[in-house]
Symmetry: C2
Subunit: 510 residues, 2 copies
């Protein structure tokens, strides 16, 4: 065995069975070792941000890490913005990053860079191996670091000689990473605040897993307390039966208004709500000024157990169903009609990758009443994640339908993900919201104090010259695709795509 | 005026008239200020690595900096791998990076990241402004840092409030950055070594500008000394009349053999030659073991003056022309026939963006005998630069023909550059070398000690499933394109494309 094979066997031994990769010369031993370790599935991305975004999507759905394989500092650099998103999602990821052979780093060859410095801003753990013998142990450490609550990005840097030299030290299986319980005093205090009224909960992270949602439902049913969800949580259960949870609105005025009357906000695996951007003459915080935050469960603690204990303090109560009939629109497509049709057709237990950006608020109004499903947002706000995230989700859950709702501007950052979807026959329906502009920036420009968008500025917000042909882009990468300009056409295409298997893209012209 | 307008006026006052940008909310004031400062040309990229690669290409051709405008830490992160290449090319670039408003950074909003930490590994200078009043002065400092010999990346981080608050302090014009002269003793010593024989020169950086090439020609003609060129230099004059310069070969055995008999190597703005990667049982250095390196001119020194002084020490001598007739191949396309046709048709004073990767060595044999031209390689070895580099070169030199020779695998990293080429009507002919694999990795895998590429490993090196349709990709982004499978067809398409203006892509099937 060489170091690379020890590394692969350590990952597989730790249940990591997918590697999203874009390898180079210094990672060739790892690639060569794939044939000897068939438990590891290598999935090629044509650019590294595809790999990191896919690893994030995989982790959010599978609830365990995937690995990435990246080529030296510059290959890692290409992956960083989606690793930033993964860090904010608290997704466990094990990055394997090749490095020049140890004797080569002194010479400042073209690809020489400060790889650890690139890794540090996104990583909970960064380490460069010191010998081939050490690779297995270091890989175990990486897994442990990725799994440590609440989950994080671990970056293991492996010089090429540590991969090609002999090694026999397969690393151990990293044990489970239990979360500490929330002490009883906080449960008691939270129950008191709920009983007193004017108290709401604000939940994120693992608190939104099924057990947490059930406990939140019981608390809401028993006390009437409003339940707010951190809109940047990694995986959010939505749809029918989950309408009692309010996703925190995007714009700060709307968010603040939605919390009117709340005097105490119990924080469950989240910090207090803040606005996405700052604006002139507007504070960053969103809670009403006379509202106080109360830390109920930290992001590293066992919030599921804590929420259940809190729910147990109240008598059981039934929550009436809140059904909203979904409209069946016709005529030219609008953001609202797209949202309504997607919501009406969405199959139960689907996974949505939501990178609709400016289209998100109007479309999500309807999705809140779709069949029960999970939504994955862009947790770190760095656009260009939607398509890779959908790819990773589809690899993690081949039997769930993945629907990628994607703004055209955002989609262009990482359109190469379509090729990997075609190659791996991922069951993803992609809807491109083609408004042919950075619409969100038109809105934000005015919010930051620009009275009117003048002509030269406007050209930096438009992406309609030349017009992007998303249908052709998709087909050129092996994904069948069609264009829709009316509700009727979109409805047909969407229904048919859901009924088939494999990737399909619909360019919805707005 | 606000801080953003001060910033723009300072850049323009310093001769920076192009900004490759992908802005977000925190940079809206900068975008809005474009209408008041018409001297600045904003050029939109659909992903940030397009912007940074274009700024590199611009700097290499224009010999002055362009600016970029990037959105917070994650937007900068997307630009990093081409900034790595720019750093290795010593290209002056001024990055303007927006940051959250100062009062917002405490709240860890989704996009909050350690922007300075992202910038540091690629930047010669990194600074975050502390007030709106300071923005102009800081921008002047950024320009000065970018221009300081040998040229570098300056990263100026501007919180959103420093852009939107009033400011009246336009920054000064940064003075010229003269390079120190090489002391006479080194000239004398170099002349002695050349007179003694078995001495060669190895040149890079600014030494390859026209004055340097002329001096190198005189030295070579007078002494017979061989002239080697660092293949990772930013801009390399090649073609007829420059055949006396030998580009250092890529593979270490070939490079070492090419220097056989050299006992002294005079280094001109470059470190000693080293291999691109390390391999088992092979040293990293390339000079023959009995050869000594001698630092003639550092990368910060005035090598042009030094080379001229060195040439003056020898009597003038005429270099005979070394004409090589270029073949006119027919039949199915090969890398060699592509190289021959491009070389035969290339117009004088063209600029080549060379990201041919595995196709480079065979094609470049012919290009060395084309009409005189400049070649821009990927100096930092991070692939995905070729198309953005061509874009930037075309913006810098609208009256020179730019030819982008691009491997299909590399091109996919940053294919979005095609859209900006179409939008800006750049005069670029793009040739995609479509071998549908990461061919270089097949070669490198064997070189790193893998005896045979097994089936699962091979799938990580192939990009033919599904087949990428480059012609459709280009058209979908507004660039006209055709496919060629024979020499005759390619020759026709290439000749016609050179005769027209505007971008055109030829997918050459290998």
């Amino acid at each position: 065995m060489n170091g690379a094979e020890c590394l692969l066997r350590t990952l597989v031994g730790n249940g990591i069975e997918v590697c999203f990769m874009n390898p180079g010369t210094s990672e060739m031993q790892f690639v060569a070792a794939l044939d000897g370790v068939p438990e590891m599935r290598g999935i090629l991305g044509l650019e590294e941000n595809i790999c990191s975004g896919a690893a994030d999507g995989y982790a959010r759905v599978a609830e365990r890490p995937a690995s990435t394989l990246l080529h030296l500092g510059p290959g890692l650099a290409n992956a960083l913005s989606n690793l930033h998103n993964a860090r904010k999602a608290r997704s466990p990821i094990v990055n394997i990053i090749g490095e020049h052979a140890t004797q080569h780093t002194a010479y400042d060859a073209p690809l020489t860079a400060n790889t650890e410095a690139f890794a540090a801003p996104v990583s909970a753990w960064t380490y460069t191996t010191r010998s081939a013998e050490e690779v297995g142990r270091a890989a175990s450490e990486a897994v442990r670091a990725a799994l440590a609550p609440p989950g994080g990005v671990a970056s293991l840097i492996v010089p090429a000689d540590h991969s090609w030299l002999p090694s026999n030290s397969v690393g151990a299986v990293a044990g489970p990473a239990p979360r500490p319980l929330v002490e009883e005093g906080r449960i008691v205090r939270a129950a008191e605040l709920l009983a007193a009224g004017q108290t709401a909960l604000y939940a994120g992270g693992a608190a939104l897993r099924p057990r947490g949602v059930e406990a939140l439902r019981r608390i809401h049913a028993a006390t009437g307390a409003r339940i707010f969800v951190n809109r940047f949580s990694a995986r959010q259960p939505r749809g029918r039966g989950r309408e009692f949870m309010t996703r925190m609105p995007y714009f700060p005025e709307v968010a603040e208004a939605s919390m009117a009357g709340v005097r105490h906000l119990l924080l469950v695996e989240t910090a207090q709500p803040v606005s996405f951007f700052a604006y002139p003459n507007r504070r960053s915080t969103l809670m009403p000024l006379n509202c106080q935050a109360y830390e109920f469960a930290l992001e590293t603690e066992d919030s599921l157990d804590a929420l259940e204990r809190l729910a147990d303090r109240f008598p059981a109560s039934v929550l009436p169903a809140a059904a909203m009939p979904l409209p069946s629109p016709g005529g030219p497509l609008t953001v609202e009609s797209l949202g309504a049709i997607v919501a009406a057709e969405l199959p139960e237990n689907a996974v949505i990758s939501d990178e609709m950006v400016s289209s998100g608020e109007p479309a999500n109004k309807f999705l809140a009443h779709a069949a029960p499903h999970d939504t994955l947002p862009v947790c770190g706000g760095s656009i260009g994640q939607g398509l890779p995230l959908a790819l990773g989700a589809a690899i993690a859950a081949p039997h769930r339908k993945v629907v990628s709702l994607e703004a055209d501007g955002s989609g262009m950052y990482t359109l190469q993900a379509l090729w990997t979807m075609a190659r791996e026959r991922c069951d993803v329906v992609i809807v491109i919201f083609a408004n042919r502009k950075y619409r969100i920036l038109e809105i934000e420009m005015q919010r930051t104090g620009v009275a009117q968008v003048a002509p030269r500025a406007q050209t930096m917000l438009d992406i309609d010259n030349p017009t992007l042909d998303w249908t052709a882009l998709a087909r050129a990468m092996g994904v069948p695709a069609e264009r829709a300009e009316t509700c009727e056409r979109f409805h047909d295409l969407f229904r048919n795509a859901l009924g088939a298997r494999g990737p399909f893209l619909i360019e919805a012209i707005l």
